[in-house]
Structure formats: C-alpha cells, structure tokens
Subunit: 369 residues, 2 copies
Amino acid sequence: MLVRHGVISTLGQLTSHSPSSSTVIRRQQFLVRTLCGSRTYLPKLTRAMSSTSEADAESVLRTVTPSLDPKRHKGQAGKIAVIGGCREYTGAPYFAAISALKIGADLSHVFCTKDAAPVIKSYSPELIVHPVLEESYTISQFSEEEKRKVQDKVIGEVDKWMERFDCLVIGPGLGRDPFLLECASKIMLLAKKFNVPFVVDGDGLFLVTNSIDLVNSYPLAVLTPNVNEYKRLVQRVLNCEVDEENAEDQLRSLAKQIGGVTILRKGKSDLISNGEIVKSVSIYGSPRRCGGQGDILSGGVAVFLSWAQQLKSDPESPSESPVILGCIAASGLLRKAASLAFTKHKRSTLTSDIIECLGESLEEICPAS
Amino acid sequence: MLVRHGVISTLGQLTSHSPSSSTVIRRQQFLVRTLCGSRTYLPKLTRAMSSTSEADAESVLRTVTPSLDPKRHKGQAGKIAVIGGCREYTGAPYFAAISALKIGADLSHVFCTKDAAPVIKSYSPELIVHPVLEESYTISQFSEEEKRKVQDKVIGEVDKWMERFDCLVIGPGLGRDPFLLECASKIMLLAKKFNVPFVVDGDGLFLVTNSIDLVNSYPLAVLTPNVNEYKRLVQRVLNCEVDEENAEDQLRSLAKQIGGVTILRKGKSDLISNGEIVKSVSIYGSPRRCGGQGDILSGGVAVFLSWAQQLKSDPESPSESPVILGCIAASGLLRKAASLAFTKHKRSTLTSDIIECLGESLEEICPAS
C-alpha cells in the first residue's frame, strides 16, 4: 500500500542528496511528516475515520510553493481571475486579487461591473481590471431579447480569457443583483467547460446555495463558507441544522452530498473536506474579525490550488488532492499573516495590514532562496 | 582605427583632472572599460563576430546618466510620453511613465483614453495625463467620415506636443482595439516625422508585428519583445521559428531585416541588437515574474536613450549608438532594482516595489553627487 502511494520508494531516496534535489527532498519530508502526523493516507483508516486530523499546514505550504527559477517566464507562477465587484462592493475583489499577487502569483485579473472598475483599478496598478459585468439597473429598459444579448456579450468577454487562467475566485463583492448572479452562474459553467478550478466565496455562495447544481460533482470547485453561509448551505443541502457536536462528520456528509466538491468551513479552526477526508487548520490566528479576511483566503486558495495542480505532473508529488492542499496552505498562511499583523497593529489591525504580512509570513515558512 | 573612434585622444587626456571634468573622465573610463571588456568596437572583429559580448551595464549607466547641474532647468533631464492606457488597462502606462520619472526624467506624460485617464491620474499626481485617445465603442455610431475626423482630432492633440518630447513609449496598456491601434500607428508616423525616438512594447508590438513598415528602417525605434512577442515577430519577419541555439545570430538577422531598428529581447539574459552588434545583459535580476516589469523597462529605455542622445554633441561621447546604450542601461538598472526589491520582499515582490528601488539602485551605481 505504501508503495502504491510512492512512499517507500521516496523514503529510500532520502539519503542521496544531490544539490538539485531540494524540491524533491522537501516533498519527501512532507510525506514523512504527513505519515507521522496523520494516518489518513491509509485508505483503511480513512474509511473508518470519524475524527479530524490537524493538517501540518507549514509542511503543505513548503510542498506546494514552487521554487523560484529565473528560467521561468511571466504567468508560470499563476494567473488568477476574480469575478466580483459591483456598484456597491469594490474592496472584496481587490483584497482577493491583490492577495493572490502578494502570495506569489504572476498575474491577477478582476472582472467587475463598469461602475466598480475605476475604483478597483485605482486601489492598485498591479491588477488587470475588466469592466465587463452588468447589473439590472443599467439594462432595466431593455427587452428580454436585448438582455440576453448583453448577457452573451458579458460571457463572451470572460470566455476569451478563460483558458489562460489557472483558477478563478467567484463571488467577492459580487452583490445579489439577479442579472449579475445569472452571469456569474454562466461563468461557472464556462469554467467547468474549460476545466478551470474555481473558489466560491461571498455572494457566490448565496448563488450556489440556491443552485447547487452549479458546482455539484465538479471536483475542482471549492466553497469557502463562513458561519452563516455554512448554516444556509447545511439547511439547503442536508435539510437540517448545523451540528457542532459532529461538525466534521456533517461537513464530510455535506461535501459528499454535493458530489465531492471541497468545502473549507471557516471558523475558530478551519475545517476542510472533500467528502472523503476531513482536515483542520487551527494554528496561529488573530482575535480580530475585521471584514475582508475571507477575501484573502479565497485569493490564497486560488494560488495554492494552482501551484498544487502543477505538482501533479511530478512523480514525487503528494497523493493528497491538490484542492485539499490548496485549502490547507491558504488557511495556514492567512492565520500566520493575521497573527503577525495583530502583533504589529493590535485592535487597529485591518485586512490591508494582514495582506502586507503575507509575504513575510510565507518567507518565514518557506524561504524564497 | 582607434583614432577614428576618438579613443587614443581620450586616453591621452586621462592625466589632466580639472575639477569640472568629472563627466569627461567618467566617459573616458567607460571607453577604457569597454575596450577591455569587449572588443566589439573594433570593426574588423565586429564583422566577424558570431558570439555575443556581455555589456558592462554599470559602466554604461555611469556614462549616459547626466550630472545634475543646478543651472539646468525643467525638462532638460528628459521629457517622456507614454502612448497607452485604455478602458481595460491602466497599470502598464502608469508603470512606464512613473519609472521614467523615478529614474530621473523631468516630465512624464501619458496619452490615453478618456476612460483610463482619471484612473491613471489617481495613481500619481506626478504624471501629466492627456485623455485624448478614443476606442471603437465610443464612436461605434459614427460614419466613416466622422470617425476620420475623430482620428484627425486625436492625432492633432498628440501633434501639438510631439516636438517637445525626447522619447515616446508606445504600447503599454494600449489594448487591441482597431481604432486605437490605427491612432497609434499614425502617432508612430508623426514621431518619425519629428525624428522623435520611440520604444514599442506590449500591444504596440502586436501592431508593429502586423505592420512592420511602421518601424522599418527607422533607426530611432526600439522594440522590446518578451518571449511570446519575440516568437510572433520572428515568425512574421523571418518566416521561421525561434532558434535558441543561434539566438544572437537570429536576433541580429531580425533587426537587420527590419532595417536596423534596435531589438531588446527580454529573457533570462536580455539580448540587444541593431542588426550590427549584439550585446547581452545578464547581471543581477530576480526570479519573480510578476506582470509589469516590462513597463519599467520600456520607460527606462526611453529615459536612458534620451540621455545617451544628448551625449552625441559631446566630442568625448562613446561611439556606441545611443539607442543601444539606452537599452543596455535600462536593462542593467531594472535588473539591479529587481534584485534589490527581491531581497526586501521575496515572493511578494510586485512591480511597484521594483519601481521604488530604481532610485536607490541608480544611486549605488552612479551617485548623484
């Protein structure tokens, strides 16, 4: 069984340290740690498992974060797109998109409404902001036929970019305008067509909770609900209330019920499940609950998931799902950055302060050189 | 042969150090270093040369950067204009324009669309932003006659400024709107009429690749393609694929084929050729490939090229083409600044961080006083 997971052959190589094998060694160390820290790799135990295992988030971060190689060119460390930002909300999509860059992605796009675009652009020249989404109030005089044409145009604008993206984040600052949500649902279908992973957060979760088929059985979908969003999801899908006594089992059932999507349930400890395993991340953290931290998390999941996907072609890659690894890594990094920001800013800690700590936090865990 | 290049007479003066001759001495030192470090000054060897010589970028930076003289007035250290910035892209023209200022230009203009202008203005009050370009969607209802009038108006707005500029950067964040690209091509013709040098980057390269006559045989044109842009250029002009085995010869052929324009091919090493010589810049650098670094380079080439042009009237000036010198200097400085920013910010290094390091990097190489 261990051979099947590539662990015995991996352990056998631990003594031969060629100078160029640092990445391989990091991954070997990861597997050893994972085996020691958690036994969920053994299928027999996974099936019988009823308790959650704490993920070694730092180890996962070291495993999925790619080495920086001067031979690589722009885009190879990740191209992320955020779908969100409307007349009302502009901060959330900015936080998600800039977090992706600060963690190490090469390019970060935002697809938002025409009203939101100049504001999001003005937050940072580093983002590529597409003012292509429409809200009902701009097309209220249109006939149904004209509205359909507008929707086709919106989807066309996203379509021409889709295959370039490594991951989407759908929902930060999306709002609840019916026309906009309909466009967002079409974008989810488009992402699935191109096999592009996506993270659903904020108002995207409102959409998905009411139209669960949008993500059902798509293994590259991640939902990142907070307490209230989770409650609504449980009510809708499992037709019951949240059971804190059996939180892990309920999360596993929920993820399984949605066909094996991955759910990252945010809370005092973050719980992550794809319907098979359940992992928790409890390290670090901050007692500050300022708005916007969820946007950092969703942008982070997008980057780490993309990086973990790249490992798949590596024979030494961990057997864990890239989606689960991406969630663990993003949760661990956000917690460390929030903790660091809190030591600096205490009660006045804001989301921007946490974003400023992402680089230093990642560097502490996983030095760039 | 040495006398023809003014080198022997220069060397002869090295012993007489009058207090006011520091600039002259710096240039003399440059020539000595260049002669020692590279023999491409000797025409016989240049003709036979098949390998690339590494440029002494620091020496070039010291040579082309003018002394700061309190007697000089605003504008004499460079007036740069960036043509770019549309509804979709605003970061790129900002990066190019602000980099020019941060390196030491006195004035930096941006000519962009009406939509892009308020955003670019909001990034920095240091820039002069002209909201004069138009995109197809704003004139879609116009007749051909009206469209021609709009185009004439756009070109008129640029025309009245043109002769004041020392160099243009055409392309950062220009987008691919056909009407806008048509305006950009007219602006290139205008620049040629006024003998104003221009650097073509980003979407400007898309335009030029499809209409090579726009730059053909204009000795003051610089193209700064990245991997993909270079590939398209080679396919279009040389009708073949990129040959990495003979990268220098192919670059020289390409530049020669376009009538001796200068091409700065960005990569692990930057390669620069005007169809005669080939220089490489390999020093420093950073493994981070965040979007926007090419915009710093294009803004930098514009400034250093302008400064190198000013040397032409100096009898002690280097014989090397000012365009080549500008490329070497900008490449060297960007690499040093990227390296410095990376030591500070590691994986979270963004283009803005590199721009913040331009001044410190130039100061280290070439102290202002």
